[in-house]
């Protein structure tokens, strides 16, 4: 089984970073349900920290996906064939546009994808930063509340760090 250099990067972009991000979205949805369903239990500090790191990883995956797509894959996609080129298989954009039956894959598919994808890292970064700040606030809040379980766990973690 042979993979070309361009196929490898396309796999890294789509099946690596992109697919990992999409799977992480499923985990995030499950976590939202776990936290906010009517019979949700109280959240532990360790859960908060895990979700904070989870969102940061999601943001990193989103950025890697759009950056590899825009600066590595996309130039290959939109490459202009030399004049007189008959075989357009190495020039995907021109290949799609050469046939009315496939032109919509470019004019709607790729033209939309190359812009709308950039919304994802913006939104995910926003969520990760808001949540990271929320964790800090929650720890401050826990120290002011009479929630003994949260305080006890926070104290245990602080003692572990000091050792």
């Amino acid at each position: 089984m042979e993979i070309t250099f361009r196929s490898l990067w396309t796999l890294v972009h789509g099946m690596g970073f992109g697919a990992l991000y999409l799977m992480a979205c499923s985990g995030a949805l499950v976590e939202l349900y776990r936290r906010y369903s009517p019979d949700a239990k109280a959240i532990e500090v360790a859960d908060e920290r895990f979700l904070g790191r989870y969102l940061i990883v999601m943001a990193v995956l989103a950025w890697l996906t759009v950056l590899t797509g825009t600066y590595i894959i996309y130039p290959w996609y939109r490459a202009v064939p030399p004049p007189g080129t008959v075989d357009l298989t190495a020039f995907p954009q021109r290949l799609l546009l050469s046939d009315p039956a496939t032109s919509s894959w470019h004019s709607i598919g790729m033209e939309w994808k190359e812009h709308v994808a950039w919304i994802v890292p913006i939104a995910t970064t926003m969520a990760a930063v808001i949540f990271a700040r929320r964790i800090r606030l929650c720890l401050d809040l826990a120290s002011m509340c009479s929630d003994r379980r949260i305080l006890r766990r926070h104290d245990q973690q602080a003692r572990t760090r000091r050792r």
Partner: protein, 115 residues
């Protein structure tokens, strides 16, 4: 993080929501700017050529770079203004979502071609 059921009444202080609101609104604005810059570059050949920051990628490189820089700048400014304050987060959240939806619609070629 929710408090467990406690027999004592606790006065939980109101924490300012300004930073969170700034992040949300800035993300909405940033998303909208991606769509707006893409639309402008598509309609104006002069802007399109100005947006070619990296030639192999073409105008997409400039459109996205400008939108990201503008997003970060707006976020910085809003965070400086609202950090430590409590703002009307409901209205700002609605505005952020509206901008996000507009961004998704404006990047859709059949809708972008209407302009």
């Amino acid at each position: 993080m929710t408090n467990t059921r406690s027999s004592t009444t606790v006065n939980v202080p109101d924490y300012p929501n300004g930073s969170g609101a700034a992040a949300m609104l800035a993300a909405g604005i940033g998303s909208f700017l991606v769509a707006l810059f893409a639309l402008i570059a598509d309609k104006s050949p002069a802007v399109k050529s100005l947006m070619i920051f990296y030639r192999p990628t073409g105008p997409l490189s400039g459109v996205t770079t400008c939108a990201i820089v503008a997003w970060l700048l707006v976020w910085f400014i809003l965070d400086r203004r609202w950090s430590g304050k409590t703002v009307a987060v409901g209205r700002l959240r609605t505005a952020a979502f509206a901008l996000l939806i507009l961004a998704v619609l404006l990047t859709f070629p059949p809708i972008a071609d209407l302009f």
